[in-house]
Amino acid sequence: MALGIAVAGVSCAASCAIADAPRFAYVTNQGSETVSVVDLETFKVTATIPVPGKPAGVAVSPVQDRVYVTCPDTHDVAVIDTKVNAVVVRWPAGKGPLGIAVQPVTGRVFVADWYGTFVRVLDPSGGNVLSEIAVGQSPSGIAISSDSTRALTADRDSDTVSMFGATSGGPKSAVAVGGHPFGMTLSGDGRRAYTANVTSDDVSVIDVAAQAVVATIAVGRRPYAVALSQTRAFVTDQYGGTVSVIDLASLKKTNTIEACDHPEGINYDASRDVVYVACWFDNKLIRIDAETLKITGSVAAGDGPRAFGDFIK
């Protein structure tokens, strides 16, 4: 059986890649209080899920048929069952739930409190709080390494990135980055971390093991979040209306893509070699070819799509 899979994997690179590909995007529409489910093959909306509470942050679960959405207005996390595309339960989550991530192996849900200085870890079986981990002020984006060992937060109001053991909560350290880091992205191998720094208009690149910033790269005005391909970083510039492209080898900005008005959440889809960008003012999700840097698709979302987090599954 194992051999059969291995052989299949070798013999059908393209189609196997599609078989493993994320199937849907789950786009949080903060204004219309819905989540748009976008089929990534057809690039059409296949469902619109009502999610009251001004949904903003999103995290797909790699281990369950679930998408978690933070609702800052109702101070909770809405749990979407992707088999039925409906909210099946809501879990209280402090005063300002915004950034959210799922620990890959355990399925635990990490929620940053925008109005606080900590991350809550929720048990996926019932939403109870397993622990609270102190970080910097106004933690925003959260990233967890693919091996589940390490977690990082972008602490917006202390201009730092906090790093800690994802399971133990410690040992903890903080690295100073640019002004008001918001989006937090970790490379697949967990070696490098990237923050989009809202007020200094740049991206900080952190060597995780060394716990040091190795580069600061100027991007467009008001960057929001970062997505990574194998060779490039893509950064949404909210006020600039652009996506800045950074070459990961040289750590230099190479291109500026005219994207849309207030681009925000951004994810990279390795199987299709594209990035998806939520356009907050234009109420759409666009698709950009990660190689040619051309916009290859656009689909209407609800009002005010943010899609802050990992939104493709």
Binding site: P72, L98, W114, Q137, R156, D157, R221, R222, G240, G304
Partner: protein, 176 residues
């Protein structure tokens, strides 16, 4: 009136810890006006970042950097209040510029993290001006007072845009 101002002042003074954060959800306002004039003529009136004189409450525009991205301006309103703004992008080819507010008292305009775009489109002797803004409310935490709520922010910005665009139409069509 006096009471409102004092209440607002007290609230600002008592603003809690997360003073640099902002409210939970960004608001948007889009207003348009149709003007019986060619787009070039309308752009000639509003297309200079260093002159916001077409907006009635603005008494004076002072700034640096012309129409280049990064340019600054300070608007002095009738009554003395000031708003600092910066130019984000300027696209003369499509008659559009985007700017942000860098400093404003929430008693003047109850918003934070405000960005906006003005754009003129048109055909022949008719044009459309679109003014769209993105902003958070003036109160950064949960449970805002009514005058610093999401609704108050949207109402205030809508009022400025509506009055500004209607005034612009009257000014241009009136030939002044």
């Amino acid at each position: 009136m006096m009471r409102t101002t004092l209440a607002a002042l007290a609230l600002v003074a008592a603003m809690p810890l997360a003073a640099l954060a902002h409210g939970p959800s960004r608001q948007k306002v889009v207003e348009t006006v149709e003007i019986n004039a060619p787009a070039d003529k309308v752009w000639a009136v509003i297309g200079n970042f260093q002159d916001m004189g077409w907006l009635a409450p603005v008494e004076k525009t002072e700034g640096t950097g012309g129409n280049d991205a990064g340019a600054k301006r300070t608007l002095t309103l009738k009554g003395g209040a000031k708003i600092d703004e910066a130019l984000t992008t300027y696209k003369a080819d499509v008659k559009s510029y985007s700017y942000e507010i860098t400093t404003v008292d929430v008693k003047v305009l109850p918003v934070s993290n405000y960005s906006a775009t003005l754009r003129v489109t048109g055909e022949g002797d008719k044009s459309t001006v679109e003014w769209k803004g993105a902003f958070y409310r003036g109160y950064v935490n949960n449970d805002p007072p009514p005058e610093l709520s999401d609704e108050a922010a949207v109402k205030a910005v809508t009022g400025v845009y509506r009055a500004g665009l209607d005034g612009l139409k009257a000014k241009i069509e009136g030939g002044k």
